[in-house]
């Protein structure tokens, strides 16, 4: 089942194309990370999904309904947190939540539940006295109040200290199971996507470089064989002679068999090998390679 379905999404600001027509498909019950550098188009995408902006082209469907045509019925089942917390600082956490809960036609119980989910104390302290971490939790509580079927979170750990980041990531990981919801979050932090998400999309300069599961992304990248020789020049010339792609004495290989085959050939050609190791590319390397390809 599809929670979010985007086709050919385009958006320009003052003649500058920010989104260049991409497709995105998010399965129900996943934590989906939209990964990209600052200015890649992540926030614009999320704002378009929420109907806060109007697309220049393409089609957006959330839970099968079309945005902006079915805006009200879509937003009734979507919770969101866009960039910095938008909280009324003169009010308490409960009062802030009550405002959104009443608009959504929810009872006071939903407010208590939201506070419980984000582990925020229900006291009389006004929000202006909250730490940034508490404000971010309250923002998340605003998003989850009423158990929406889709949660859209823009950079949810932005500005938090390491402890706050760890807490927020734990909360995000637990949300789909606790609330039976689909989470779409944007981030420019790769480690965050790796820790929290089950699926991800990489957005670069308004185009999608990758969309799918984290595991599939890891599998898509070939492993590499790191070689160490006492005669580095001979090793390099031999590898280049076989037209192999060499970077820092690393050669991409498909599997253990092809690695063993390459080592054997090098030894047969008199290249003195001291060390050979098969390495998995890190997610960071995969990401940069993806961006490089797109650029």
């Amino acid at each position: 089942m599809t929670a979010v379905d985007v086709r050919g999404l385009r958006k320009s600001f003052h003649g500058r194309e920010v989104l260049r027509g991409f497709d995105l498909n998010i399965t129900v019950g996943t934590v989906f990370a939209l990964l990209g550098r600052n200015g890649a188009g992540k926030s614009t995408t999320l704002r378009l999904l929420l109907g806060l902006l109007t697309a220049d082209g393409g089609e957006i469907r959330l839970s099968g309904q079309q945005m902006p045509r079915d805006r009200h019925s879509i937003l009734a089942n979507v919770g969101s947190m866009i960039e910095s917390p938008s909280l009324y600082e003169n009010l308490t956490a409960r009062e802030n939540l009550a405002i959104d809960a009443r608009v959504r036609g929810l009872e006071a119980r939903a407010v208590s539940e939201a506070l419980e989910i984000v582990e925020l104390a229900d006291d009389t302290q006004p929000v202006r006295e909250f730490s940034l971490g508490m404000k971010q939790r309250l923002s998340l509580a605003l998003a989850v109040v009423g158990r929406p079927s889709i949660l859209i979170l823009d950079e949810p750990t932005n500005g938090l200290d390491p402890m706050g980041i760890a807490d927020m990531r734990r909360l995000l990981r637990d949300l789909p199971a606790r609330l039976n919801t689909t989470v779409l979050l944007s981030t420019h932090i790769l480690a965050e996507a790796a820790q929290v998400a089950t699926d991800l999309a990489i957005l670069e300069a308004g185009e999608l470089c990758y969309s799918g599961s984290l595991e599939a992304l890891r599998r898509r990248q070939r492993r590499r064989l790191r070689l160490v020789s006492s005669d580095a020049a001979k090793l390099e010339s031999q590898l280049l002679a076989w037209n192999l792609e060499v970077r820092n004495f690393c050669v991409p290989v498909d599997d253990e068999t092809s690695a063993a085959h390459l080592i054997r050939r090098l030894v047969e050609h008199g290249v003195p090998l001291h060390h050979a190791a098969l390495e998995e590319p890190s997610l960071e390397e995969i990401y940069f390679e993806m961006i490089g390809i797109a650029a």
Binding site: R47, L50, G51, L52, R71, H72, S73, I74, L75, A76, V78, S80, I82, E83, S84, P85, S86, L87, Y88, E89, N90, L91, E95, A98, I99, D100, R102, V103, R104, G105, P126, L142
Partner: protein, 251 residues
């Protein structure tokens, strides 16, 4: 799922809890009462019923000419400033409600608050002068129909000022800065001083709350009230329909 306007209206009132708007709502009418009391103390003029009426007319005039329009500008700026300050617009517009309903709810809050402040002026002026008359022999007695005069004047002031409320609310909804809407309010009050007594009063909406309370020519008073209320009824839904576009314009 569509929250009715009543829910949104009470939400707007909740948002103003512990804010400057609530304090101003109490201070503005009470400061007018204090000013008129001080005026009487500096120049007592005798304890006649006529004297009370003149004091009441002074209070109404100071309110309708000066304090009411400035308070409208300030309250509209505070009500909308709550959203501008924390970019609450994105939170509001991501809820399953048409932005126009938020616009109308905020306008309703402004109107009710201004009506409350005006009524507070009537009640507090009446109470203070009644207490003073009991305690001090130099204070004038309240004539028959004194309270009715105050309440009718305040109703007329609010009705005449409804269109100005729509104007200030639209300005403050659109523009993130406090300065421009408040500046407009101050300039308009100064313009009332020049235009209010001329035949061109009809073209300056800020005159209408003052002229609606003017007892000297009931026809002008009625016309000012009708203009304020009718144009507000026409303009408010139009502005609400373009609420989202107005917000984009101000960005």
């Amino acid at each position: 799922m569509t929250a009715d306007l009543g829910v949104l209206f009470f939400n707007e009132l909740l948002k103003l809890r512990r804010s400057l708007a609530t304090l101003m709502l109490l201070l503005a009418p009470l400061s007018v009462v204090l000013l008129v009391v001080l005026l009487h103390l500096s120049n007592p003029g005798g304890p006649t019923e006529d004297r009370w009426l003149r004091l009441a007319q002074t209070a109404v005039a100071v309110w309708a000419y000066l304090v009411f329009p400035l308070l409208v500008a300030l309250q509209a700026a505070v009500i909308n400033g709550l959203e501008h300050r924390v970019d609450g617009w994105k939170r509001m517009f991501a809820l399953p409600i048409h932005p126009g309903r938020f616009f109308l709810a905020k306008l309703m809050a402004l109107m009710v608050m201004m009506a409350f402040a005006s009524f507070l002026l009537a009640v507090s002026f009446y109470a203070v002068t009644a207490a003073a008359h009991v305690g001090l022999a130099s204070w004038p007695a309240i004539p028959d129909g004194g309270f009715t005069f105050l309440v009718r004047s305040m109703l007329a002031c609010v009705a005449g000022g409804l269109f100005v409320m729509v104007i200030h609310h639209t300005l403050s909804w659109t523009l993130p800065s406090f300065v421009f809407p408040l500046g407009i309010g101050i300039v308009a009050v100064m313009a009332v001083f020049m235009v209010g007594s001329s035949k061109y009063w009809v073209f300056l909406p800020w005159c209408w709350s003052l002229l609606a309370t003017a007892g000297s020519d009931p026809a002008i008073g009625d016309a000012a009230m009708m203009l304020g209320a009718t144009l507000a009824l026409i303009a408010a839904p139009m502005a609400a329909r373009g609420a989202r576009r107005l917000r984009r314009l101000g960005q």
